[in-house]
Symmetry: D2
């Protein structure tokens, strides 16, 4: 059955499997110290314009978020995030499990508003009772957000400025970063992110890898003994090559950007189809996720022929659903959807 | 200087100090196994109408909240609480430190609305992604709330019913329970609380003790090895007598209720004075905390002569402040305030 | 350079890569709910003779240990383990990070002695101060151990009996389980393990997979909401297929056992070579790891031509080193070693 | 019945209760910011010769240990301690509950040997696998130890030197510090401890207070936001005066040292009595705890007339028991014991 349920339906980009096979019988040291990890790091440093970066490869998004956050916060600190942030909703409390509160703020289409972040921090530091409260020790944003939306360069610059003023690191969750960077509606580049954030990750799992996220501390600013922290969080693969080979492949010949760009192309076709068929958008995002509102009856009928994600009930009779494209979406699939609708 | 800053300004009710002195040189076993702890438990069981109750004495509110919550939740569960709940705002993230998320809900004057709690639970258990979310494993309420407000018997009954329907324990934080029970505007008794809650505590620190909270599991339903959990949380006093003697005294001859009733009488006089002087109430509570709105200039002047608590900025020119009475408030103090205003 | 450093030098068994490629473009649901995971589970249930088993796939050993242990223990409990147990030495404190103490016992060649486990438990439960101590809530063993040694069926039966008598689950870390099952010197079968343990895992990472461990609760006795616990620990892969396809392949046509058997054959040849060359054994194990004692000077010379693992200093002039074979060891490699020595 | 079970059988030194009564109705600010806390801190700074010290008052020993340790360690670090250390045995895993491993070392009569601590640290930092291990981030000693023994000034100097060489803080648990300082067999003064340790605490609970331990960071080296950490651990009393008044009293007119000295005098008489009666010492300590070996039959008989602590079974027929004196032990009690024996 045709499916637009999410962007991790297929395995890996074929080039990745090819490289895994080619390198398979090489004897390599473990835990991320192999030559493919090194090569991948060099390519990422070059692509992000941060030659001094510390880079680590982890397996998945929740793991990466909780390891990075716990690794950077002091015990009495929490992390500021949008109420809809992935860490606040869909990670089974992984951050709190490490002992840290998420200080959730209101959002607009998944994004925090810089002046509201500033107001929150100012209010906190002016509060006479702040010693009885959780200190804001980091600002977390996702880019693209859970709604597929993107921060503008101005917004990112503002957030970065606020964080630096308050001496709080800015962490960007880039689980779908490729789709954000290749959006036709963004003015944010990978070097911008490296310049403005204190730590971010380049998502592999949702952008063509079997698994894997590349965490970048752009100014060589990884916390002390971060490899030990990764191990302690159960996030250190013995065969680090699995991640090294994948990211080395993704950052060779711009593969990461090409396949993300393809997903964006498919998302534009998808938007056209949805518009053409008169679908009402809940949120028409600049990336690979599109949110439309379906009448529940139509939704049930449609669900028999095409896969999509139930996002949330809008009211008693309507539901917001998500259609996602990915590096693997074929034009024929979008065409098939057009015919179905 | 005259002060209405909070309800823990003085030491202990003199009768408590007297009993501590009288019993001081008795050699008693440690860790809460002494005869005064036993006697206090019996008196509390009688007062709350729960002869089978398991009772433990801890030193303070934050400690009690985090120990009870962590002791009752399973690893994957969180606690539902009002956004303004003490555990969510003013306990330095003590609950999250034990690994559990607070699932915060909107509130009205510090209280959660039963139908919103039900809606939250129904939505959660209907969510297809709930396995990626934090399970609601307990409902936490404070009574009186942080705003001095009280749940009605109907509201408490409704919350209890919802919790039982979803098989989730209901935990009542009674740091100021005495003031709630002696309010002239409540229909909730201590046996009602014992009947409707799965665990609650009777606050001593804010109601006449030097320190101490009595945790009650009304149906003998304490978690296995709860004493060990208390110890693990650093909450087990070697000289448990300090808590036993205090609660034994408070529950002898209704002292707890008498002194709480006195605080309520003083709160009524205080309300009269504040009304008489034309103060605008932000929230006129049925217990010992009163919230008024002061023009910032008047606030600064007043603050030179009387102590009160800065609650929050209302707008650029006005501030919400709190005046609290306690077991120790003398009528002369209220009179002195009248003259000041 | 020739290397016997460890059993995770190469990638995956070629058959695994082949199957990953063949299934790559299938659209599959995420988080372990795909058909390959289901098929793998059925094959494991059959191989282990436990048709009711709950099975979960995680990515690596440390992750699996801390997730299983934290998922099964109550807050006040710890885990009994040999002093040399992997969780006690080489997992960066991952278990303690989840809040649980490791109650370490003496060992003999990496194994705990059943009567010492019994004595420990009896002493604990007879201790008048036990409420101030960490309760033993699980017994952890590794099989093969970190020294390549194996529990006999009698020892395993004894440990299982002790655990059941004290109502404590027995957890077997099988990171190298294949090599244990195929040892020529074992009388323990996979169904024996399923019958005698309460939870165990079948290691993939060190036995031919790119990554992956299969956790088995043999009597359908997984803790409530264990998938959520896995997610909370950052151990749930979005593309669960990566693990499903691998284990499905390993448990098709006995591949897992065949390749583990090959490693054992190679280990026997290795032992012969080491004996022939007059090496002094520190521990001649029945599985794929062999420990010999080298004069430091010879060790340095040898290290220039062949890879092995420095295990520990024996005295000022001698070092214990480890040679490991694996599913990927070629007879030619052992032959090359013979010539080198 | 006569009892030498422990040093916390009675309430508080009468002078403390007197001062609590005298100051009871003063209105004081909360959370340790009152004038009695300030005065107590000044007196402790003077007594310990560390005018720059940061000082905090907590309620009990386990609480203090876990709060200090968690507050000072980074996430990937553990604490080095004697196998018999209180934190390793009798605190219900409170340290591990905060996520940190205890790296336990062998001991002699409760004390770690400096050269063994050095060897442990050297071995750790030379270990090629140390990134997979828990980093030693603190050395914990108790003084007096759980066996009543004391480090000599040379030993303490050696440990301090080692810690400074490895840049690891030295933490001294002084739950019974008074008895150590007043021992007739010590050459260690309070200023020595302040000079050689990075953090230590002066025990009140076991030396005449109702509860309370004074944590001293002698060079103003408290971790950032330590008050918030205390709150987060549930260890911040609202009525901080309870601790302030007690320590202010104990450090007025040398009361702390006088009453500890009395306990030492009583311990010497007790030793004489035990020797005179031919008791066999397991360990004759220089402080207030004495350990003798009793034939089980005699032990049972004796236990009907005098309280003592069962320490551990020595063999099938003998038990080690502990007799403790305290600030409250009367000469008549020792005399009564003489007659009993």
């Amino acid at each position: 059955m045709l499916s637009f349920v999410c962007d991790y339906l297929e395995g890996a980009h074929p080039k990745i499997l090819e490289r895994l096979s080619e390198t398979n019988m090489e004897q390599l040291p473990g835990y991320g110290s192999d030559r493919y990890c090194e090569s991948a790091k060099e390519k990422i440093r070059a692509a992000a314009g941060c030659p001094e970066a510390d880079i680590y490869f982890l397996a998945g998004g929740t793991q990466t978020n909780s390891t990075v956050i716990a690794g950077m916060l002091r015990g009495f600190e929490g992390v500021v995030a949008a109420r809809t942030g992935h860490i606040n909703v869909h990670e089974s409390g992984a951050v709190e499990y490490t002992g840290h509160k998420i200080l959730s703020l209101p959002e607009q289409d998944g994004k925090m508003v810089p002046r509201e972040v500033r107001a929150f921090l100012e209010t906190f530091f002016a509060d006479a009772n702040r010693e009885h409260m959780v200190f804001p020790g980091m600002v977390y944003i996702s880019h693209p957000t859970e709604y597929g939306t993107l921060y503008s360069l101005q917004e990112l610059t503002d957030l970065s400025g606020i964080c630096r003023e308050f001496r709080i690191p800015l962490f960007l969750d880039g689980a779908r970063l490729g789709y954000g960077l290749m959006s036709r509606e963004t003015d944010v580049s990978l070097p911008d992110i490296a310049r403005l954030c204190d730590v971010f990750y380049i998502g592999g799992t949702k952008v063509g890898a079997l698994c894997g996220e590349a965490v970048v501390f752009p100014r060589g600013n990884a916390p002390a003994r971060f490899l030990t922290t990764i191990k302690q969080h159960g996030a250190l693969l013995a065969k680090g090559r699995l991640l090294g080979v994948q990211f080395d492949t993704l950052f060779t010949d711009n593969l990461y950007f090409k396949i993300a760009g393809h997903a964006i192309d498919m998302a534009h076709r998808l938007r056209e189809v949805l518009h053409e068929k008169g679908c009402k958008f809940f949120l028409e995002s600049p990336t690979n996720q599109q949110f439309i509102i379906l009448d529940n009856k139509r939704m049930d009928t449609l669900a028999r022929e095409v896969g999509f994600d139930f996002w949330m009930a809008l009211d008693d009779r309507h539901t917001v659903v998500r259609f996602a494209t990915s590096w693997a979406t074929a034009p024929e699939q979008v065409e098939a959807l057009r015919e179905l609708l």
